[in-house]
């Protein structure tokens, strides 16, 4: 079912004709919104790198793109005693999620001025999570892949006459990544990204 959704979506993303292109590199600050008992800390250790084309025939109202993201979530847990069948184990520990995402996206630019864009869009793709628990010198964990949907809204501003500009956006990630061992039925997070863009000139 996921493939049925993704294949035409990616075809649309990759085949769109364009007049204007842009690359961007953003600092991404995110906060988990699911299973917050295991991981609740916001993370500033993340980023996004992406590419977009603006569709000429829509007068730049539509754009399509690809986006790669990475984030490291971490949270310290004070010493806790875990009861077992015939005993117990006590330790403090760190929970970690190392996360990577790849999406294809479509945006509608509500404002599509030569140097200023306001957009809303949707990205669809994949999320890869590495869950890790560090305690003393030991580490354990597991990994999961999931289908990712990412609604996003933001602004892009370019310095007039220059190819460089800035970008800021809010996004919400909802993915199907599960981890029974750590209590994840899905993984969701809200994020704010800000960074630089390089755009082709008219």
């Amino acid at each position: 079912m996921k493939k049925i959704i993704l294949i035409p979506f990616l075809f649309f993303v990759l085949s769109a004709s364009a007049q204007q292109r842009m690359f961007y590199l953003n600092w991404d600050i995110t906060k988990p919104a699911s299973n917050t008992g295991w991981m609740n800390n916001a993370s500033a250790a993340g980023g996004k790198a992406g590419y977009r084309k603006f569709m000429e025939r829509s007068e730049n109202k539509f754009s399509t793109g690809l986006d790669f993201g990475w984030t490291t979530y971490s949270q310290y847990k004070p010493a806790e005693t875990f009861q077992q069948e015939n005993g117990a184990i006590t330790t403090d520990y760190f929970n970690y999620v190392f996360q990577y995402t790849l999406t294809g996206s479509v945006q509608y630019n509500f404002i599509a001025h030569e140097n200023f864009y306001v957009y809303g869009g949707l990205g669809l793709g994949a999320m890869y999570n590495k869950y890790r628990v560090y305690y003393n010198i030991w580490v354990e964990g597991n990994e999961s892949w999931g289908f990712l949907a990412r609604p996003e809204a933001g602004v892009i501003a370019r310095i007039p006459g220059r190819s460089i500009g800035g970008m800021a956006a809010l996004h919400y990630d909802i993915a199907t990544n599960k981890s029974e061992g750590y209590g994840y039925n899905n993984f969701s997070a809200i994020g704010f990204q800000i960074g630089i863009v390089l755009m082709t000139r008219y």
Binding site: S74, N86, F98, N136, I137, W138, L198
Partner: protein, 203 residues
């Protein structure tokens, strides 16, 4: 060409996969305890424990300085902490020749995967410290990491078999010793925790 400016920045950010602060990770020992579910701890009242000697088992360095150095200050506070906890539980310490109900073994194992390779919570073995005046430990295998574990064991002497075999009825593993920032305070704290999470010993 200008797009290549992104490459070094991208690589820099890509390398930002952070890992935990090592100092914070190792400032407390992991304390794991286990007990024999059929043991009745209320039937024991006396115990024996060495005063100033703990065992050392290593498959790597026979000259390890942690414990066997003549000036090592590690064994005595460790044994005192175990003794204090045993006394607080109501057990009475007696000489090992005074027919104690239980014996307490304390030793360090290095470079051995205790969690995966040495599991004998209800296993009978033939000796314990003081009973035949030497140590005997079964089934140890080399582990890839240099780790050190402080092991506490309570063995049931009262119910030893006719051929003098005794049974481990409780044990605690505390580690990693070699990564500890303050070895003795962390070990003493870990020993206290081992008894705190084993309330059934007071039954």
């Amino acid at each position: 060409m200008k797009y290549f400016l992104f490459l070094p920045v991208l690589l820099l950010l890509w390398s930002c996969q952070r890992e935990p602060d090592d100092a914070r990770l190792v400032d407390q020992l992991v304390v794991s305890t286990n007990f024999d579910p059929v043991a009745d701890f209320s039937e024991y009242s006396t115990y024996a424990i060495p005063t100033d000697t703990i065992g050392f088992l290593s498959n790597t360095n026979p000259n390890d300085t942690l414990l066997i150095a003549a000036e090592s200050s590690y064994p005595r506070p460790v044994l005192q902490a175990v003794k204090a906890n045993m006394d607080a539980l109501g057990f009475t310490r007696v000489d090992r020749n005074a027919n104690p109900d239980i014996g307490v073994n304390v030793y360090v194992v290095t470079n051995i995967d205790l969690y995966q390779q040495v599991v004998y919570p209800n296993y009978y073995y033939s000796n314990y410290y003081g009973y035949n005046s030497y140590y005997y430990y079964p089934y140890v295998q080399t582990y890839a990491y240099n780790t050190g574990m402080l092991v506490l064991e309570i063995v049931d002497i009262k119910n030893k078999t006719a051929n003098n075999k005794v049974k481990v009825i409780w044990y605690a593993y505390l580690g990693d010793l070699y990564s500890a920032i303050e070895l003795i305070p962390q070990s003493v704290e870990g020993i206290d925790q081992a008894f705190v999470q084993s309330p059934y010993l007071a039954d």
